[in-house]
Symmetry: C2
Subunit: 109 residues, 2 copies
């Protein structure tokens, strides 16, 4: 029953925070979606219409739509309708937010 070390502590993220943060990271945890985001970010205008994603990703239109939805619901991208097309762009604040959430870990080194 003797413990091996100081049990635990404080300063740990609670379950709620973890539950909010995880889906955003999970949305990023897919190669297709990573490429999508990089495509949007690298686009000259900063946005790309969905129709231009199918070909380079070699995926069907429904699959592209599905991934865009996942990214959208994670708040990582947003779509703006321009006539018949929808232009998707990265939400930089959201990316920064999730990136900064990874910083405290580093601060403890």
């Amino acid at each position: 029953m003797d413990n091996c070390c100081t049990p635990l502590f404080a300063g740990v993220i609670d379950e709620e925070e973890a539950t909010e943060m995880a889906p955003v990271l999970a949305a990023l945890g897919d190669p297709v979606r990573l490429r999508m985001i990089s495509m949007l970010a690298a686009a000259p205008e900063g946005s790309v219409c969905g129709c231009d994603l199918e070909e380079p990703l070699e995926l069907s239109q429904p699959t592209v739509s599905h991934h865009l939805k996942v990214l959208r619901e994670a708040g990582l991208i947003e779509g703006e309708r321009r006539g018949r097309w929808i232009h998707y762009s990265v939400v930089p604040e959201r990316v920064t937010e999730i990136r900064d959430a990874l910083s405290p870990v580093r601060a403890l080194v």
Copy 2:
């Protein structure tokens, strides 16, 4: 057939890079593993033995072991055997690496 916008571009991460990066982010995309990592990082010694994780996470030992394995294989944590126990600690370089990978997106704003 008329395109809605400038097709695509350059500076996009290739499939290989996306395939390397995605599993690490996917490993972070789970609330249990996020709490685990924060626990390791917040520990006074910077490490925690696996046996001290089951209770606060309210998970069985095999499940804890499973999540530790996922994080280990993603290179996010590492375990050091000390006698009967294994002390797990965050690999800060890895966290920084994945954090920085999210930076270029911001640079384009």
